[in-house]
Amino acid sequence: MDQEDAKTEDDRPTKVDVLLRPAGDAPILKKKKWQVDSAKTVEWVVGFLRKLLKCEDSDSLFLYVNQAFAPSPDRDIGSLYECFGSDEKLVLHYAKTQAWG
């Protein structure tokens, strides 16, 4: 049993459709749906969004799943999709102030 074997069980898609929705007074994006590599982390998505929204270094940006909880920065998008995706996409809400807890 080698490491190669352990990898082959990963049958999930390599790309995930992520729908980014604003919450509170966060600005709306022109393009809302993005294909994200399933191995990318929440931290990466936050960095990507900060660039899109032209956030200043001092601005906060929060990301939420199911309008309920903020996933930890090192969480991968693939596992979020697997547990909380619906209709073949993962919906993430972003906010500039804390929206849910």
């Binding site: 049993m1 069980e9 309920a68 909880f69 996933p71 697997e82 547990c83």
Partner: protein, 268 residues
């Protein structure tokens, strides 16, 4: 109702010895280690102020940055419960008391999440428990609680007070809607630097076992014949549970304070 198992697991603490990284000491005298009994459901960063108090006068003030913890070359993720960190990195035959190195310099950016205040630890904890309740009850239990009850959960964890914690936490242990089962079991499997999290629905299969969950997460290692593959060790809360354990039962009894089952799979 709290069965005796969650209380026993809560009381099973990890002896740890915190030492300051020797190359960060600028005084002529080496500081003595800080010995502590770490609650498994607690978080390392809750002890940061103790470390600052004990170690800070052994180094120049201007060199004192954010505190982080390391064991055996591995930066320790403060956002994992202490018991999970121990199960992931340590061998009980040689690593007791758990020798943890405390650093005030060279924070490993990119490897660890920054933690500047207790509020961040609390926010992280609440996020994880909210995720767990999304899985268990579509978030209905946590959303039905008052904020003071949320605070009480955290206070119980922080103060290592099982009764305070469990008097609220027991609400998370009821089945989803009218069933005896959670909607899904909050479960994370840690294997070779990977975290695998999938949906496990106990009501589809009343006898859903740990073995079936591991077979779904790591099909190349586990098979449905319920025997443990050679050279593989399955560990949670410092215990090797039988693979025939029902997942629902494990979730009710062996979850950490964040309501997740954290299962480590080691290859020897």
């Amino acid at each position: 109702m709290a069965g005796s198992i969650p209380r026993k697991l809560w009381e099973g603490k990890i002896p740890a010895a915190f030492s300051l990284a020797s190359y960060e000491v600028s005084s002529s005298k080496q500081p003595s280690p800080v010995y502590m009994m770490l609650p498994r459901s607690s978080y390392l960063s809750l002890f940061t102020s103790k470390m600052v108090e004990h170690f800070s006068h052994y180094m120049e003030e201007e060199k004192r940055g954010e505190v982080w913890f390391e064991f055996n070359g591995n930066p320790l993720r403060w956002h994992y419960p202490c018991g999970l960190l121990f199960d992931l990195h340590c061998d009980t035959t040689s690593d007791l008391p758990w020798p943890i190195t405390v650093h005030f310099q060279n924070f490993p950016q990119g490897e660890l999440i920054r933690c500047n205040s207790e509020k961040e630890i609390q926010a992280h904890y609440m996020s994880v428990i909210k995720e767990a309740d999304q899985l268990k009850h579509k978030g209905q239990v946590i959303n039905g609680m008052r904020e003071t009850q949320h605070d009480q959960l955290w206070h119980g964890v922080k103060m290592d007070n099982f009764d305070e914690f469990w008097s609220i936490n027991k609400q998370f242990m009821s089945g989803f809607e009218t069933t005896d089962y959670f909607r899904f079991i909050p479960l994370r499997v840690y294997f070779q630097n990977r975290i695998i999290q999938k949906l496990f629905k106990p009501s589809n299969n009343e006898n859903l076992t740990l073995n079936e969950a591991l077979t779904i997460c790591l099909p190349s290692f586990f098979a449905n014949d319920k025997t443990l593959p050679l050279k593989v060790k399955v560990l949670t809360q410092g215990i090797e549970p039988p693979l025939t354990c029902s997942l629902q039962w494990l979730s009710e009894n062996f979850s950490y304070a964040d309501n997740f089952l954290h299962i480590c799979v080691h290859q020897s």
